[in-house]
Amino acid sequence: MTQSFRLENVGLVNRDKKLSFKFNGKTYYGYEGDTLASALIANGIHLIGRSFKYHRPRGFFGAGVDEPYAIVQLYRNGETEPNVKATEQELFEGLEATSVNCWPSVNFDIGAINNFLKIFLPAGFYYKTFMWPKSFWYKVYEPFIRKAAGLGVASIKHDKERYEHKYEYCDLLIAGSGPSGLASAYAAAKNGARVILAEDKARFGGTLLTSEANIGNKSGKEWAEGIITELKEMPNVTVKNRSQVFGYYDHNMLVMSERISDHLPKTKKFHPKQRLWYIRAKEVLISSGSIERPIVFGNNDTPGVMLSSAAKEYLKVYGVLVGRNPLIFTNNDSGYESAIEFKKNGVDPIILDTRKNPQSEIVNEAKNLGIKIKFSHVVVAAQGYKKVKSADIAKISDDKEQVGEVENIKCDCICVSGFWTPTIHLASQSGNKTKFNADIDAFVPGISKQNEKTLGAANGVYTLDETLKSSFETGYELSKKITKKDNKISFPNVVEKKSTIHDKFWCVPLPKGKNYKRFLDFQNDVAVSDVEIALKEGYRSIEHVKRYTTLGMATDQGKTSNLNGLQLVSKIENKVVPAVGHTTFRPPYTPVSIGAIVGREVGKHSKPTRKSPMHSWHEKNNAVFVDAGVWLRPRYYKKGNENLFEGSKREAKNVRTNVGVCDVTTLGKIDIKGPDAAEFLNRVYTNAWLKLPVGKARYGVMLREDGIVMDDGTTTRISENHYHMTTTTAQAANVLSHLEYYLQLVWPELNVNVVSATEQWAGAAIAGPKSRDLLQKLFPNFDVSNEGLPFMGYMEGDLFGVKARIFRISFSGELAYEVNVESDNGTFMWKKIMEIGEEFKIQPYGTEALSTLRIEMGHVAGSELDGRTIPYDNSLEGLLSKKKDFIGKRSLTREAFTTEGRQKVVGVIPLDKKTSIPEGSHLVKDSNAPLPNPKLGYISASCWSVEYDNPFSLAILKDGKNMIGEKLFVMSPLKNKVIPVEIVSSHYVDPKGERVRS
């Protein structure tokens, strides 16, 4: 197909580079520098998709970010992306796109039957109709509505593209590179400020690209090019195109998405597809311009009806005619500018102006060019289904309430201008209290909350001269404040045509007997009649009207519909627009890819992975790893075809009969030093610490101030004023913060320092009846006998030339030791233990065996110390000192914590001694009781006891103290299990604790 609507020698596209692309399977051609929209219009394509609710044909309405219609499914380099605006997507060789929201095709769309049923689909239709029966919503209504009313289809494949995040700081962030953005950036940059200038389009210059005004002795476009070239060369300036500042957050933090590769057929090697910038700016200048407002009239959603500024942009930037027989419908001078452009390019437009007798330079120019103008005329309705074929026009009365006799005139497009709406989204997001400016019928920024200023059209200033003057001035003033420099540049002379005031006309009344749909929101199919219904039904708040009718809730966020919606509500309510107020602007201003938000934090990069120094040994020895927080720990070491159950049972059994070794590097370790260290520990832990001698370890429990157990572990006195504290793997970071809190804020008089030493030490637990024999061989010159190194003893040893710390502590309940060496020596230590341990039949054991060993010993751990239990619940009340005060002690005297019959940890054995008990199951008295069956407790941890070869669990049970010997039921509705059980002591193995002392 030829580009029959492309003009010769007009526009900024590169005609030397022809690009082929496919739309709905058909091949077309465009040029480098086109958007998908401009290339399609060049080929005469105006049917792009179907509307959301009524499936009415949809074409193009705008030429940029405000586009409500032309969203497509994009295919690029084997990936697909939904809801891409054709007006924003730059053309590249091989681009493929398809329509969304139509089936089987955009030309013949079955859903369009809704268009003829639309009388049955008024506002709130879904709310009213699909409510009953309730169960139908998920199964029937929702899937059906989603299929019929969906937009694009999200890919469910892994996104292979790379997205990056960047943090940046600057003096001035300037959003938008139109006249105000360029002028303020230039003035500030010349005055030494660090400036970031962001432009969402590929081309810099904004309205200067289509303006006829002259700056200095150059055209607006040439002036913009000169400024940009100069800015790009300045070291204190960052200039970014294809970059949308979409969110204004607290403390002048703005977020910008940069589309680095979306305009290329394929992302370059080592390049990201998009980059998200987090920018902390000292000052922010919002120069986001304004968006033309539509005028509401009958069938104003027909393809071919579009904004007059868009028609001008397609013509001047892309050299593309949106029609050969255009009708311009305007209430202000802007429509004339588009008409003049058509005329200059050999096309005869007709202007319908709602004003009676406007006088201005621009109007006169149009008259002088011989353009046909009908004053006091309106478009009553567009005619044509898939494309505008003609327009019903009429004279409008001076009070704008009545339309005269309707006349039909031929046209192939209707370019609408209802004046301009400042883009105040960023200002509003920053907390700016916006105000209504009656002169322009729109909201403008008011009182700033953060360091933000709005310039030019975004501030309701529509003359170039005034915009440039104030922007130069603001850029200079703000930069002076920051840089203390005083380089002021003189601003150039501006030549522009003067325009006159607009007509506050926004909606064409219906002629008698006609019932045309007049749309406010083009993407969500919200018509004037829908808002009228919402108000009739009693909705008053604009926020409620918005949600009930879905006005402004589509992916374009109502950029072209908000103000006309407000006008309508205020007219019906007989209020002024500011009394109705506008709905809240929230980030993002335009849709942002999820990929860009996530950035590099995908897969393995979503969190750090911590590995012990012995990790590669574990890998080589068939360890199956498990996530323990961010640590990777061996769960068991697989032998042959063993599964987890078999492997962990073998390892645990070997600890009970011979000796095992477990990597305990992940335990939190905190180094505590200072003359008041003992006093500090005495306040932090519930038991007494003042008399712990040097070379001894002690088990301790720490509470939160509310009496709940926070953590447990052993702390060893290394020397007079030096302690080594261990914490559980999961709580290591919290415990350190907790200690710092008390030392810095509560008891600053204590002379103590704490620092994390987790990564400095590699740890190996050696456990089992043969562990002492092994230890003696590891440290042949040291006395590790029961007398030389008694239970809870500590000594420093020499492991074949490596300095080692040896603690006689036990988590497994067996005779056990923990050996720590500096991390770099971890693998050396581990290999020595394995090598020398061979004669004692040593086996490494993982976390699963470790759990088994501690559960059957009744040692509480994370699953019991779960942030809901007090010491009594864990049978730790023996560790509560009566003589001294400690953190959380007072809370333990409160009524709920001292009530008779409080929950306590117990052991649970299935009566058949065979059925495994699922963790998290409930304990009940009667398995057949009616629901809700009173719950007596829950299973906190389960294992297969290797000592007795049957299942054993720990549970937190109501009145656990008096329940030993009771028969109860374990119920797991999730696993559909009911298991009769007996309650026993939590200390299932070695209840007297003789082994650890042996």
Partner: protein, 89 residues
Amino acid sequence: MLYIKCPHCGMRSQNEFSYGGDASVKRPELNKEISDQDWDNFVYNRKSLRGKHWELWQHLSGCRQWIKVERDTATHEIFNTLKANEDIS
């Protein structure tokens, strides 16, 4: 994201800090008799003010110091920051 002036390190982004609650709460002295009501006020009862509020933050991914921050809970404006040993005026 808030921009917080650490009295030790200077201006830093919120993601380096963790929040630590009301800074005006004083822990009762150790080994002192205290009524249930006073203890509950210390542990649980907070005012949840709208407006200016002194609160604790820890510069977790920085100097690890606990600091006091005067912040407006409604607007997030930060008026003042103090070191742990400086008293709220």
